[in-house]
Every structure is written in C-alpha cells, then in structure tokens.
Amino acid sequence: MNKTSNFEFDDLQGLLRFGHGKLTDTCFMLLNIADVNAAKQWLSAAPITNASTTDALPDNALQIAFSVEGLRMLKLKESVIEGFSDEFIVGMTGDESRSRRLGDVGDNTPSKWEWGGSETAVPHVLLLLYARQGELDHWRTTVEGEHFATAFHLLSQLPTQSINEIEPFGFVDGISQPTIDWMQKQSTDIHERDRYSNLLAPGEMVLGYPNEYGYYTPRPLIDPQEDRLAAELPDAEDEPRLKDLGRNGTYLVIRQLSQDVPGFWQFLDKEAASDADRREQIAAAMVGRKRNGTPLIEQHIPGVAAEDHGNNFTFDLDPKGNHCPIGAHIRRANPRTGDFPPGVTGLFSRLLKILGFAQAPEEDLIASSRFHRLLRRGRSYGPVLSPKDAVKPDAPAGDRGIQFICLVANISRQFEFVQNAWMVNSKFGGVQNERGPLVGHRKPLIDGQSTDHFNRPDAAGTMRTVCHLPQFVTVRGGGYFFMPGLRALKYIAATPANGRDSAS
C-alpha cells in the first residue's frame, strides 16, 4: 500500500482526526469490567466511530480506551502488555515520583482525587459518547444495548457541558492544535526544521508511524506464528514479520481539572482594584490571549493558514516576554520554538548556534516544540459563570472545570514533559520562581523560596509582579489509557477469556 496517499482512516478512532465539536452533548463513562465474556461480546459489536470522512456530518460518535488494568482484565497476555510504555503500565498515579514530576502534590495529591487516585482505582475502560444536542440519551441506549449492564460496572459518569469552546474561566479554548501531516510530506530531519511548524509527523500522535525523530515509538508487536488471532492485525512497518497491536492506536491522557472560577476572577479583580479593563489585561497576560482567543503577539508564520489568526504567530520577536509574558499559559503549553533559536540564516550562523556562541543569556532555554505537542480533545463542565458575575461576592459556587484529554504516542516525552518541564516548572524559560499561572500548584521550592507569583516583563524595564496567586486549578482525577485502532480492538475483544494462547 502506498502509505503517502492512503492513510488507514477506517482503522483509526475518529477522535484522532476530529474533535466532534458539532456533537455538543457528551457523556464520559468510567467503567470497570464486571463480566469478561459479556464485555468481550459487547466490544466486538460496539459501534466505535472511525476517522474516515462521510458526506453528511455524523449524528453521534463513540470512542473507547482501556487502562492497563482493563487490558489485563480482558486477558491480554502480559508479554503483549510489556510492549506498551512504562508510563502506561505504571499509570498516572502508580508512582509518587511521577506525581511529584506532574505537580500532583498538595491539593493535587492523587489520594485526594475523586477517581483514579490509586493504582487500583483506575477504571478499566473509558467510554466517550458524543451526540447532537438532545440526542445523547437515545445514543446511549443504542450504544449500550442489552448486555451492557452485565458486562460493565459504571463507576462514574464524568460531567461535561457544551459551552461553545469556552472554558470555565471564560477563554476560548482549544485554539492551538497540531496539524497532523497525514501524507507524511514534511521532513523530520533536524537540518530542515530550524523554525517552528505546526505540522507534525503522524507518529507523534498515532502509534505505528514514524515520529518526529523519524523512528517508530515502541509498542506491542506480536508474532502471528505464535498467535493466530494476530493475523488480522496490521503489519508492523518497521518489523515486517510482526503484527502491530499499536498501529492506528494512541495513548489517551485524561485529567479532571477543577477550576475555581469565582476565585480566579475575584483575585484578579482585587489585583486590578476593580477596574474591569485592567482585570481583563492581567487575565490576558496570564493566559497569553484575550478572552476571545486573540493572541498577544501579531506575527505571520509559514505553515499556518493566514486566516487562522489564533495560531499565526511565534514568540521569536518577543524574546523577553514584553508582549506575551514568558510564563503565560499558552507560552508554556506551546512555546512555538523551532530546532534552533531565531537567527539561523546560513551555514556560518548555523554553526555558531550549534556551538552555542553569539547567544543572548535568555536565548535557547526552551526545548524544540515539535517533540512535545499534544492533540487536545477535552471538554469543559459546570454551569457557565461570566467574569462579570464571578467577581461578585455572592457569585454562585459550583463545580466547574475541564475534562482535559490529550492524545499522544509518547506519554513521557509529550504529556509528562509539557506538564513537568513547561507547565509547573518554576524555572521555565528562565522565569523567576513562578509556576504556570493557571494550572500550577503554588508549593514553594525546597529551600523555601515562594513560587506563588506571576511576572509580566515590561519594555520600561521593571517587571510587573502579581503576588500571592492562589491555586486556581485542582486535579480531581485522571489516568493513562490506550485507545486502540479498530482492528486492534477486534483483537482485544477476540482474545480468549481463559487467557490461553489461541494457537494451542
């Protein structure tokens, strides 16, 4: 098959290609497997949505992902499971060192989570249902069918709420997304990717394809000689004699992030001495965008459609953060850096940069973005509360937040890196002891230096500092899941429930 022309969209779960934005009603179900045989039966017939396009927009969608415990319950052999990454096998909460790295400390500590907070509490299955407005109940009945209740035990149903791509603090969300280079036209060679590009090799998001290093991320490969069921799986491109259980699948990271909306706006209101414009300014500086999504930087860059105003920029012309603070949320989440700091024009300047010469002290502190991108598919939840109402002392309390979901081929290099080195890192890009203004916790450094502030560099010289930031976002749950390709799902469903090798 010519891989450059025909991507196997019909084997890919739709979520890898679409956000299902038109399907406003969603239901995220956390399930445990109650009866393995019934579960397998349900899985083999489940109407999982694939990624091929249809003439008319679909009325509903169904996606599915499994935790490592879920795969074990479904009797996937341990030798196969060992082919997955360590992060997936250990889990988001299975190791305190990981929690420390992710900033899941203090109020974010997994033991305080509502779900997924310990190794044994991670749901087996994550089922994502999407439907047009008002049609979710009907879709759910269709999806569940007869034996669903026998097969699964519903642990919890994560709340979601459609508020038109606006996250609870009131900002347009989901603007920066990588564009997947399905045709694999862009070179991944380090000599050809000096500048930032939004186009990303499929292997960064989908297992079984070359990633940004030009290599295949390890994933479970199965010898069809030893396991006849595997014959139906796609071939492994890099190991032609083996079958690829990972191909067209991906890892799904989910985190329930609770947002203190009144807390956020009331803090800013106090900081702005109740001046609504100043309040918005500080909020925009913390996010790096105005509430309508307009970035604080104007600059055209190649590789992004001119009309995509929200993404048509890098931070190259703002190295000190005078326009968009270095510590702003979107600058941390996607610093839009290339393989080289700006200023590489020819062979000589390139050599100088490689050798580290002719650099400003604050230059080249941030890793190249293309190795650390996330495909985000989250949904927000909770009653809408506008900033205007949120600043009122009697602002209605309520559980608000986001079900953060991202799809990545390498959890540690992508999700964990962004969370650790960029989001909660108190030294990101040379900032002075401040963590992500929106999502960071506020624990001081080991030597007691505080991190609960936010600096806005200023062309005048002196930085503007916002002090004593409270924590606005608290983690309430989360886990690492594997979202298989459709043939891989068939394989998982078909594995004999007695756990014996099918070849014997």
């Binding site: 060192s97 990633n211 393989d339 580290g356 002290p361 080249d364 650790n420 080195a421 010289g461």
Partner: protein, 436 residues
C-alpha cells in the same frame, strides 16, 4: 579569581558490608527526601564547608558488566566501589585537609566499610589523597564563580527585588535613572548595615594562571605539530570507524521499571538533579584511543572555551566530569544539572546529540552512530534506555544552593555587575532592571 577543582575518593567496599554502608550513608540524608543530604548531618556537615558546591556518595557497581559479552568479550571483574565526589573552590589538598579536620569521625566511619582502611591507625588525609582519582575531563559552568559569591549574589538579588517592588509605584516605572539611584543607595545602605556583602574576587593563584596559560596554548601547539600524523592516519581511521560502526552489536535492552524507580525516587525534589553513570569502554585499542582523545579535547574546550555559563547549547549543567577507571576499561560520568531527567535527555538529544555521540558512542550499549556524530542519541528509545540502564543511584547528594539554577546564577552575577559597573545607557539600564 578562585578556580574550581574536584576530588573523587574511591575505595573498594569490604565484602558483605554493602548493605551496612548503604544504611550508614542513608543516615546523612534528609528524612523525607531520599538521596538528598541533610546539610547539617552529624557525619559530614556539608553546609559548614563554604567552598563546597556539590558533593555525592555513589556506590559504583557494574550492573551492566554483562553487556560486553555481545562483543565476544568476557566481563572484567569489578567489586562495588564507594566514591565520594565533590566540586570545590580552590585547590583539592587544602579542602581535603579541611574535611579531615572537621568531619574526621564521620568520614572514618564511612570509609571503615572500605578495604585497606582501619579507623585506628589510618592518617585520614593521607588515605584520602592516596585514594583520589583524577578525571580525564571536567566541566565547570562558570570558572571562578565561588560558593560564597553565589550566596552573596543571590542575597543581593532577593534584597533588590523586594525593594524594587516597594519603590516602583512611588518613583514610576519610566523613571529609570531615579530607580537605579535608589536601588544603588539601598545596596550601599544594606552593605553598611552588614546585611549584604559583595566580596571582591580573590587574586588568581599565580601557579594556576601559568599552568592554565601553558595548557591553553600548549595543547593547540602540540596538536599542530602532530597534525601531519593525523592527516596520514585519517583515511585509515575513517575506514576502521565505519567498519566498527557497522559491525558493533546494538543492544536494545529496556531498563527495568524497578531500576527506574530507584533512580526517580531521588529526582525532582529540587530544581536541579544529579546523574551518575558507569559502563564499559567498547573493546579494542581503536575505541579506547578515540574515546580518550575526544575526552581530552572536551577537557580542553571546557577549560578554555565553555567556561562562561554554557556548554555549546546547554545552559543547565553546573558541573560534569568523565573519569576512566579499571585500567581504562571503564568510564564513570557524573553531572549536576537543572530540570527533570526527561528534559535533560531531550535537551541533549535535540541540541547536542552530536556531542553526546562523540563522547559516549565508544561505550558499550550506546546506540549505533554514523561517522561518530550522526544518529546515536537521535535513536530516541535505544538512547533513553541505555542511559537509564547505565545510571547508578546516588546514595547521598549535596548542593550548596538549592532552589537556584545555572541560569539563575548567571542572572544574579549580571545584577551584581550592574551594581558595580555604573556606566550605562538607557537600554542597558532597562535590561538591568528587567533582571531584578
């Protein structure tokens, strides 16, 4: 300027005492933070030694010794060896003397788990001097920056930063000359009150200066003299190199999760982390000589070129050293770096993969390179597996300035320069204010 130096005292651990030694070393650590020294512990009160930047105790074990069998070579025996390393201001002997004076009983207790040391009759200082192992290459983030200077400059920054917050509203952000004036008077006042000190640098030791200069010009001169020989052997070198790169076995061995856990449990408590790694040199004289030559060059450029806050594109390494041990069959590498392990490695792969390949591809287990600089580390997973597999847990780690990164230290020095060097235009002044 006070130049930095190192020590690395090694001794074989007595048979059967490994567990007891580990337990004793753990007693030097903070209770709740694995692997991190309590600066005031009874055995070696690290915090009292004001010339000490970093220190660590590592038990060097050859856990990956079997990997060399892939080359058809039997592993050499290796007994677990205790190593006590430090990076210090000034010369080694005077520091070891201080150590022997102020931590004698603790050191004796620790070294008593090693062979050929007995608590009663040993002259501790002489014993340490005898057991010191010299490195083949050493990197210092900023040669001449002392621990004392680091603490003084950090205090200066903190104090200026708090005061600037106070005065900016009354003076006005745009009134930069007046802001500077107020800040400078404030520093003078604080100095007068004894709350701030900015000790001028010590004179550079004459002996060091001469030696450094001789090294700076002598090495290129010698290389120039022998360059005709290099030219003659270059084609043979290239052919042999490519042959080996094609035929060397590639080991794609995943690191066990237990091993990773013992390493990560010590990481990401502070803004910096430690890294100790140990492995075999690939068999054959060709690999050894190439390795040694590259390490030799690294030492040269670290001394004379990369001594001002960056090592090529990397600004996150405080100290690093390469040490050949076991009669040149094995190499030990130790570094102190900022950020998490994953970002350290990603930085390496993306920014200096070529340098990493040059330096480590002559080690067993390293992913295949092409022409010594290509591929290698860019083979992400084989590389990440191999560097974790060869990594050793550090029993005790001390950093004299927790909470500060190398970038912080450089910034604090620039702030201090701004205080002491008063000739500025407006742009420089704004730049200075933006650092505070």
């Amino acid at each position: 300027m006070t130049p930095q130096s190192t020590f690395m005292i090694t001794a074989t651990v007595r048979v059967g005492e490994l567990k007891n030694l580990r337990a004793l070393l753990a007693s030097l650590n903070q209770e709740e933070i694995p692997g991190h020294a309590n600066p005031e512990n009874d055995l070696i009160p690290f915090g009292k030694f004001d010339r000490l930047h970093f220190a660590r105790f590592v038990i060097i074990e050859a856990k990956t010794a079997h990997e060399i069998t892939a080359f058809g070579v039997n592993p050499r025996p290796w007994r677990p060896t205790l190593a006590f390393l430090g990076d210090i201001d000034g010369d080694r002997v005077s520091f070891l003397t201080q150590l022997a004076e102020h931590a004698a009983s603790g050191l004796k207790q620790i070294f008593s788990y090693c062979e050929d040391f007995s608590e009663e009759d040993s002259d501790l200082l002489e014993w340490m001097k005898r057991h010191n192992v010299n490195q083949q290459a050493n990197y210092v983030n900023w040669i001449g920056r002392t621990v004392k200077q680091i603490h003084e400059e950090a205090a200066l920054h903190q104090s200026l930063s708090a005061y600037l917050q106070q005065i900016v509203d009354e003076v006005g952000r745009e009134n930069i000359r007046q802001l500077r004036q107020k800040l400078l008077s404030y520093v003078e006042m604080e100095k007068h009150k004894g709350r701030l000190t900015l000790t001028p640098p010590e004179p550079t030791p004459a002996g060091w200066k001469t030696k450094n200069l001789a090294h700076k010009f002598g090495v290129p001169l010698i290389l120039l003299l022998v360059s005709p020989i290099f030219l003659i052997i270059a084609p043979f070198f290239a052919i042999r190199l490519r042959m080996l790169e094609r035929s060397d076995p590639e080991l794609f061995i995943r690191t066990s999760r237990e091993h990773i856990k013992t390493l990560t449990v010590q990481e990401d408590w502070d803004v910096s982390n430690q890294y100790s790694v140990f492995g075999d040199v690939k068999p054959g004289l060709f690999r050894l000589l190439t390795f040694k030559f590259i390490v030799f060059l690294t030492d040269y450029i670290a001394k004379h070129i990369y001594n001002r806050g960056y090592l090529t594109r990397i600004k996150t390494i405080h100290f690093a050293r390469w040490v050949f041990v076991d009669n040149n069959h094995r190499v030990f590498f130790a570094s102190n770096y900022d950020g998490s392990h994953e970002s350290y490695m990603d930085d390496f792969i993306n920014k200096v993969g070529w340098g990493l390949n040059l330096l480590f591809s002559n080690g067993v287990g390293y992913p295949t390179t092409t022409w010594l600089i290509k591929d290698g580390a860019q083979r992400e997973h084989p590389f990440k597996y191999t560097q974790r597999r060869h990594q050793l847990p550090t029993e005790v780690w001390y950093k004299a300035y927790s909470g500060l990164t190398a970038v912080d230290l450089a910034r604090n020095s620039r702030i201090r320069q701004g205080v002491e060097n008063r000739q500025w235009n407006d742009a420089e002044l704004r730049e200075w204010l933006s650092l505070i």
